[in-house]
Assembly symmetry: C2
Homo-oligomer: 186 residues x 2
Amino acid sequence: MEKIDRRIKRTQRLLQEALVALTLEKGFDEVTIREITERADVGYTTFFRHYPDKEALLVDVLDTMRQDFHNLLMPHSIITEPETMGELLFEYVEQNLDLCRVLLDSTDTITLLRPVQEIGQQEIGMMFSAAQEREIPLEVAASHLMTSLVMLIRWWLENDMPYSPRKMGEIAAKMIIRPVIESFHA
Amino acid sequence: MEKIDRRIKRTQRLLQEALVALTLEKGFDEVTIREITERADVGYTTFFRHYPDKEALLVDVLDTMRQDFHNLLMPHSIITEPETMGELLFEYVEQNLDLCRVLLDSTDTITLLRPVQEIGQQEIGMMFSAAQEREIPLEVAASHLMTSLVMLIRWWLENDMPYSPRKMGEIAAKMIIRPVIESFHA
DNA sequence: GTGTTATGATATACGATATATCATAACACA
DNA sequence: TGTGTTATGATATATCGTATATCATAACAC
């Protein structure tokens, strides 16, 4: 556990907050680095002392969400209670709307979420590693599970959340999670 | 059926071919408009007489694929033969590798494929409109179906096509298509 | 208090997009 | 084949966003 200069933490926090605020206002792609530094009230050149580009800053923001999800889903088993798992997911999104909107807004969600997905897929791989008989290769199933859930959340946000988290959790369980589970012991 | 100046068709064809070739070499995001015009051997300013930006050119290329898929899948029913449907899909991708790689490479696949997906979702909506009892709203199911299939193809290409089109078709049917179908008469 | 380090400000270079203009060449059609 | 029309190429130019170098200052850790 290294000690980090307070100025560094402060600057990075300001930049992250500015990115979130600006992305909510006009979309990730329309935000320029100059705007971010102006909103954060830090020097333009300072940005590059911390991040090589805008995407790197977003990845930093993203990691917060990844940790949250990890802590949220850890105590539950996706195999025995898929509906609960789905509901928890959508409840988290509802309670962290701003953050989730930002992370799912950037047009290349797929690329940006890759680090998160890879970790998620590893965890899913662990969960299902016990299953002996598989119709579908583990790697395909894990990738599909993560990707589809993210895309379903995306759909929900883009369509102004027309259904409750509970309902969306059920949908996720029926349409995505259970089919994957069943493919492992059929 | 309007008659279009041969020069226009020629220029647009050259630009499309140049974009495909360059994207295969270095990825969509790295290609500049200047490079496209140089490769196509047309004036730089000419580009903007046809397309407002790089994405518009890609959408033009994209439409070719959309028509192909439509013609390919038209004669079959996704409800009665999901495995065949899946296999046809992956066979088409295998036989049109260059084109598909280009279209799925650009980082914001989701945004760019939206016009294609919307049309696909309408068609899917038609197919399932007969089903009376639904556990899952039609719009959610249609969006999930299209998105997940595209993402599965993406995974297949990014991982150097480790399984045959037939195998991938089975996976698609089991993991994506059949669960959607079953949600409509449960 | 002292050496260290992050910051702000300024200047600057670069690359890519985008538009205006005009002479030329290719076109459609009679 | 001749004629009016239109797309093109070449050049110049404006704008914007990214990225780096430099140096004095202020905040930091100890």
